[in-house]
Amino acid sequence: MASGTSIRAGRPSDHLSRERKLELYYWMRLTRQLEERLVNLYRQTKVVGGLFRSLGQEADAVGSCFALEQRDVMSPLIRNLGAMLVKGATPVEVLKQYMAKADSPTRGRELNIHFGDIGAPGVTRGFIGQISPLGDMVPVMTGVTMSFKMRGEDRVGLVYVGDGATSTGAFHEGINFAAVQRCPLVVVVENNGYAYSTPTHKQTAARHFVDKAIGYGVQGLQADGNDVLAVYDVTKQAVDYARAGHGVTLVELITYRRKGHAEHDNQSYVPAGEIERWAAENDPLDRYLGVMRRDLLATAEEIAAIDARVLREIDEATDIADASGTPQALDALSGVYADPPRERPLWFRAEATDDSYGTERPDGWGTFAADGGAR
């Protein structure tokens, strides 16, 4: 098993400027603060559906996506808000999504962070919205990176899955196909201990998820997912490997999910003290604040300034999102196909103007004439 912590020839993060390293803290703080704002909005019932937190996992999302270039394409999972923000998703978009606004990125069609923006390199931000069936984004990203290879583009793909998704057929087929095709793809397995209520030992008999790399014939790397620089180092190594044409890497990031599957989940299945221990001893922001003070000589004022900027940005975003309108009901009918662009309205709805269900009757039909009179 290769390990990200065993890199001898200098760490990739050694090449990050002090400014870039402080940026890592900004993204992690923004992620956490934005989710806390969402909790408030959820309690005010302004979040229409469920709320998914990544508390305690901010480092693995932010540090890994930080290793990508703008032209690269990433596909997040439900606990990768941090990765999406790094890739260019804005707090306004996230808030509008959760609040099901008409001008949300998916115009009210999809929920929470299920949205994306892809297209020409340099024009768009390069992330693809996930769907709920787990593992499905691995084959999709195999195809995305296959297109990079076919067109000779200098681009890399990164897809996130959780420990649970490694049990799906889609994960297996996707990573295997990408491996055979030597696609420039990084598959990040975030091992946060639980898939909903199921602990990892009921998910796999493998000792480590990274061990699965051997079976697929791909590079396997593992890192402490709560150490943002270690996450960056290991992912950057995988991204460079892909960009150099060597193919797929399976990266296992070991972290811990401190909140339930979603906001409604009371985590009754978690052993007593476990969450508190991770919060006290292994919080990714606390750990990185220590690094910033010790290695970057970050001052209290510098840190407070970042925190204030984050709060200001979220306040502004909340005001904008809150002021946005909700979708018009009939907009539900558009966009299933390119052609036709719009589906027929339901004739039994008051809004319907369509008369395709006609009452045209042939002459001489039935007991009564069309005007209701007896024949």
Partner: protein, 325 residues
């Protein structure tokens, strides 16, 4: 110009579209050097290379998922299911991912999933299926199922050029049994347009794929033996479905028989019957009848398969009942 088979017409369509557009590429099992289980892709790899004719692992989920990803990036993948029965393995990817992509995320999925379908070939339960009804139920997918060689080519070319995912069902019984002279030039057939396979005035049959030919045989027999004129409509596209063509023929003959090779319950004939009932109730002189396969997994032995699948004699019997109603 010489006649070519339904299979050769599909092969020609693939060649022409790959030559016309560099973004078109094929993926599937054994489709490259081997040319595919039925040789539909024979010669494709020699002409276009391994980058555009990709031999894949036995992974239907990955094939459909990768096609979607490549399609998002502007390519136009054509995926072969070695037998269409195996499309069930990719049901999640097609219905949850591909079919919803444009609607939920404005993600285009211009891709084709094609493969040999249908029975009458002693293929047994897993090499004979007609799974189109399951996908007709899913908004976001388009479905075509040609009966003639000319339509096979023209519809495939249109499917490849369409901006959404098209499931392209090919009938393996017809592969080498039906032939056409291909229209000259860039021959395309628009999706969503039915074809009048035979004009008639007394009873209508609405059908598609292999049973178009059985309907035509039955129509001929009715004309000769009973003096009854039967109109046969070949739907060609199931989604979008040419409702206007169905209503037109019903209003013309006032009697409708719907025929398909797929099983009966929850089948497409039921959907057509419902639409005709809602829209053409006053025009009907008899109940809409269905001739379909029995609700049974398709058995292997000739005596069993022939019993389960619709035959020309079944259609004649149903037509006589409608004529006598």
């Amino acid at each position: 110009m010489a006649e070519i088979t339904y299979l050769e017409a599909i092969r020609q369509g693939l060649f022409e579209e790959m030559a016309r557009d560099d973004n078109v590429f094929c993926m599937g099992q054994d489709i490259g050097a081997f040319g595919g289980a039925f040789k539909v892709t024979e010669g494709l790899m020699a002409r276009f290379g391994e980058q555009r004719v990709i031999d894949s692992p036995i992974s239907e989920i990955a094939l459909v998922g990768a096609a979607a990803g490549a399609a998002h990036m502007g390519l136009r993948p054509v995926v072969e299911m070695q037998f269409i029965d195996f499309i069930a393995n990719a049901y999640d990817m097609l219905t949850n991912y591909v079919a919803t992509a444009r609607y939920r995320a404005s993600l285009p999925c211009p891709m084709v999933v094609r493969g040999p379908s249908g029975g009458y070939v002693r293929g047994g339960p897993f090499h004979s299926q007609n799974p189109e009804a399951g996908f007709l139920h899913t908004p976001g997918l388009k479905i075509v199922y040609p009966a003639t060689a000319s339509d096979a080519k023209g519809l495939l070319k249109s499917a490849i050029r369409d901006e959404d995912c098209v499931l392209f069902f090919e009938h393996k019984y017809l592969y080498r049994r039906v032939k056409d002279v291909m229209p000259a030039g860039d021959h395309t057939v628009p999706l969503g347009l039915a074809r009048v396979a035979r004009e008639g005035s007394d009873i209508s049959i609405v059908t598609y794929a292999s049973t178009v030919w059985k309907a035509l045989e039955a129509a001929e027999q009715m004309q000769t033996e009973d003096g009854i004129s039967v109109e046969v409509i070949d739907l060609r596209s199931l989604a979008p479905m040419d409702e206007a063509a169905i209503y037109r023929t019903v209003k013309k003959t006032n009697r409708l028989l719907v025929v398909h090779e797929d099983t009966r319950t929850g089948g497409i004939a039921g959907e057509i019957t419902a639409r005709v009932s809602e829209t053409c109730f006053e025009w009907l002189d008899a109940p809409v009848l269905r001739v379909t396969a029995a609700d049974i997994p398709l058995p292997y032995a000739p005596a069993l398969e022939d019993y389960v699948l619709p035959q020309t004699t079944d259609i004649v019997r149903a037509l006589r009942r409608l004529a006598a109603y």
